[in-house]
């Protein structure tokens, strides 16, 4: 019953927040409307999201978000430096293959997205079995270390979010 009514509780919360952001004012009426929307829309769209990934809103999640946000900022500076100052022929571009432990498509996507938004790496493809990510690194002296960093810094944390 609950599952039918709230197919994606996290989504419901997100939508309520989004609605409040859109409405741009904190009124009771707006909140009621937001709740209605947050409940109704996931029900309407649930056929398009048949899987139910379990997302935990624990500290792990917040830590993960913080780490990623920080890395995005750092990444940008790093890339900026490369873009501005590094000569093209000095670039140490490399392909990385990141073997995956996470299995849910949501988690893999999250990881891939994180990789893309963080320093010097863009995830380009998934293996056809879904167990490895193809990542392009703009400038990396040690590809293996980079892979290890990705698995440690992001994948390990993600596993806790998608428990």
């Amino acid at each position: 019953m609950i599952k039918k009514l709230l197919p994606h509780p996290a989504l419901t919360i997100t939508l309520i927040v989004v609605w409040m952001l859109l409405a741009n004012q904190l009124t009771l009426g707006g909140l009621v409307l937001g709740v209605i929307i947050g409940v109704v829309i996931p029900i309407l769209t649930s056929p398009f999201w048949p899987d139910r990934p379990r997302v935990r809103f624990g500290p792990a999640t917040w830590i993960y978000i913080a780490v990623v946000l920080w890395d995005i900022v750092a990444a940008s500076f790093q890339i900026a430096v490369i873009v501005l100052f590094r000569r093209s022929k000095d670039l140490r571009s490399a392909w990385l293959v990141v073997p995956l432990d996470v299995r849910s498509p949501e988690a893999i996507t999250m990881l891939a997205g994180t990789i893309s938004m963080t320093p010097g790496t863009v995830s380009c493809d998934v293996s056809s079995c879904g167990r490895a990510l193809l990542v392009h690194a703009l400038d990396t002296p040690d590809p293996a270390a980079e892979v290890a960093r990705i698995k440690r810094r992001y994948e390990a944390r993600l596993k806790k979010v998608f428990a």
């Binding site: 940008s76 890339i79 670039l91 073997p99 994180t114 493809d125």
Partner: protein, 139 residues
């Protein structure tokens, strides 16, 4: 005016300068990098952050100057951060597909020898999907 600049103004200005700078750098990277894979990095991260900065600046600016609180910018940022990696991923896939396994046969690029194996016995999705054989059209 400049003399009146309070800390908030300075903060906003700084964020704006940083935002503009990142936006420019991202596009500069796009323009000057030697190959598509290297060009992909600038816009994905730097430009997105540049836009994000502008949005944050806006988010601070309106409450600070006009007393109008607005969180709309947060939504745009959310959207951009959600979509930027997917965009990059799709462009990369399209590029991989168009160029074949030998990526970026560009003399400026040192990864011309091709894609690595997955190491799992299977291929990359772009090249070897469920119906790889059928999909290759007759030459």
């Amino acid at each position: 005016m400049m003399l009146d600049a309070g800390p908030i103004e300075i903060l906003i200005s700084a964020i704006l300068v940083v935002g503009g700078f990142f936006a420019l750098v991202g596009s500069w990277g796009l323009a000057r990098m030697p190959s598509l894979m290297t060009r992909l990095h600038g816009p994905t991260k730097v430009t997105t952050l540049g836009v994000g900065s502008c949005l944050i600046a806006s988010m601070i600016y309106f409450p600070a100057t006009q007393g109008k609180y607005s969180a709309h910018e947060l939504l745009i940022t959310l959207f951009l951060f959600l979509t930027a990696p997917i965009t990059a991923n799709m462009i990369a896939k399209a590029h991989l597909h168009r160029q074949g396994r030998s990526i970026d046969p560009n003399p400026m690029d040192d990864i011309a020898e091709g894609l690595p194996e997955t190491g799992l016995g299977t291929g990359w999705a772009t090249f070897e999907g469920q119906d790889a054989e059928r999909a290759d059209p007759p030459r």
